[in-house]
């Protein structure tokens, strides 16, 4: 099945790279993304980029943004462009198709985030390094790697679920955008809705928590969400039903 998953990933990435007309257009888009998130934003922040938890927040948020912009196309795009029936009539197993699409989306978001974080490190050193090497702390570095992977998994899992049911790419993209907005806005409103003393205690706990504690808590939450979404996606992916749709 691993070979089949790689085959799906190969096709998904190939389509992603040529979606703007040709390979050059696709690569240009990647360069722009890395330029904005790996050079512009880190340079605006300066040396604090590698020293504060800001890079960690970017590490968790960036894959959500990147993956949600592409994963909506996965099944809804195949359905809209009338390629899904033929794909389902092939010898690929349900798992290979599903995992291939999820892996392609995760690989894209995770890979670009890691490349951006690496480029950011180079950019910050070139601009502000002077006579010392600026590096992420081990926990922030590990946090970027782990949280970006799990963040990409969250976006890919929810995106696949939306895309499985949506009849058009536009519909899938709208639903997914709404879900991502709710996901990022709800915690803020939830925090504000808490009683004052709870809010103070929670804010104090976050301020006093170490980077390690924050990374572990966020990672556990994301892992649970990822596992849940993957299980739902596996249950919802029914070949016969997709064919009839």
């Amino acid at each position: 099945m691993t070979t089949d998953i790689w085959t799906m990933i190969w096709k998904e990435w190939k389509e992603l790279l040529v979606q703007r007309g040709n390979l050059r257009g696709g690569l240009s888009l990647l360069v722009v993304i890395v330029g904005v998130f790996g050079i512009v934003f880190p340079l605006q922040e300066g040396p604090g980029w590698v020293e504060s938890r800001l890079a960690l927040i970017y590490g968790a948020w960036l894959p959500l943004f990147l993956v949600s912009a592409t994963v909506a196309d996965s099944f809804a795009g195949e359905r809209e462009r009338k390629t899904l029936e033929t794909l389902l009539a092939s010898r690929l197993s349900d798992r290979a198709i599903l995992f291939g699409k999820i892996s392609a989306a995760i690989g894209y978001g995770w890979g670009l985030t890691l490349v951006s974080a690496s480029v950011a490190l180079i950019a910050v050193n070139v601009a502000h390094g002077r006579d010392q090497l600026l590096l992420y702390s081990p926990m922030i570095g590990l946090g970027i790697v782990v949280l970006s992977l799990l963040g990409a998994g969250l976006a890919a899992g929810s995106g696949i679920l939306v895309s499985l049911r949506a009849s058009t790419v536009r519909q899938a993209y709208q639903q997914l955008s709404l879900a991502i907005v709710l996901l990022t806005v709800l915690p803020v409103f939830g925090f504000r809705a808490l009683p004052d003393d709870w809010r103070v205690q929670l804010a104090r706990a976050i301020a006093m928590a170490s980077t390690t504690q924050i990374v572990v808590v966020v990672a556990v939450v994301l892992l649970v969400l990822d596992a849940g979404l993957l299980a739902i996606a596996m249950a919802r992916f029914q070949r016969a039903r997709l064919m009839l749709d």
Binding site: K11, K14, E15, Q19, T86, S90, R91
Partner: protein
């Protein structure tokens, strides 16, 4: 092939190929990448993939344009590419659903020729689903007529034409009087008989031997110069079968 369609879907998919209602091609990818993707799905080795893609695209006259994005191609070229994709893994059976639908007559004829040549070359059985009965007549050795899920008839096109429809005979000559017409119309094998100037047009039921009828005409005093016999088309057979069904 002996598979159970409800329990062995995976085995059926492994040994068959399909061109469904839509070509199902990734239009943003090149023709070569489309075939490469499906060749990888069928686990062909790298060398096999290259050779097979070249063989099929060359056979269908598409090799020179293999690097172009499929979205720039005509409908006919896309259909050919989709047929090549269905044949990639050398299946024993391929299903083609309306392969010439939406094509102009010239492209349809070209695709039919290519398809027939390719099938001979590959030695594969083709299950063709079509509403175009003329196409079925040209391409198929065995035709089944299905209406609302029921198989109404099955057989070689010639056999079906003889079985269900009427055949039309045009006789050119002289002496086709009204008495002769009445006599012909009374015969069970004659569906209709009409005289137009010096032409007698008969529609006969099933596979009727016309020699006795000609003998009858001559003995009744008619002079026969030419005889043209047309078999019923599959379309006429289909309509007859449907009428009988109703």
């Amino acid at each position: 092939m002996g598979f159970d369609t409800r329990k062995q879907a995976s085995e059926i998919r492994q040994t068959t190929g399909a061109l469904l209602e839509h070509p199902g091609l990734y239009e943003r990818l090149s023709a070569e990448d489309n075939l490469e993707f499906y060749a990888r799905i069928w686990h062909l080795s790298s060398a096999e993939r290259k050779a097979r893609i070249m063989e099929l695209l060359t056979h269908l006259g598409l090799w020179e344009r293999r690097k172009e994005r499929v979205e720039t191609w005509s409908r006919g070229m896309k259909q050919k590419l989709a047929i090549a994709r269905a044949l990639l893994h050398r299946p024993r059976l391929i299903f083609l659903d309306e392969p010439t639908a939406g094509l102009d007559p010239i492209m349809s004829a070209a695709l039919r020729d290519d398809l027939a040549a390719l099938v001979r070359h590959e030695g594969v059985t083709v299950f063709l689903t079509t509403h175009n009965l003329a196409e079925a007549e040209k391409l198929c050795q065995l035709v089944g007529i299905i209406r609302q899920g029921r198989l109404l008839a099955i057989g070689h096109p010639d056999e079906l034409r003889g079985k269900g429809g009427v055949s039309r005979v045009e006789i050119v000559g002289r002496g086709f009087g009204s008495g002769l017409l009445i006599m012909l119309q009374s015969r069970p094998e004659v569906a209709t008989a009409e005289c137009q100037d010096n032409r007698l047009v008969l529609e006969l039921r099933g596979e009727t031997d016309i020699a006795p009828l000609i003998g009858l005409l001559v003995s009744a005093g008619a002079e026969v110069e030419e005889i043209h016999k047309d078999k019923a088309s599959l379309e006429e057979v289909f309509l007859t079968l449907v009428q009988e069904e109703e």
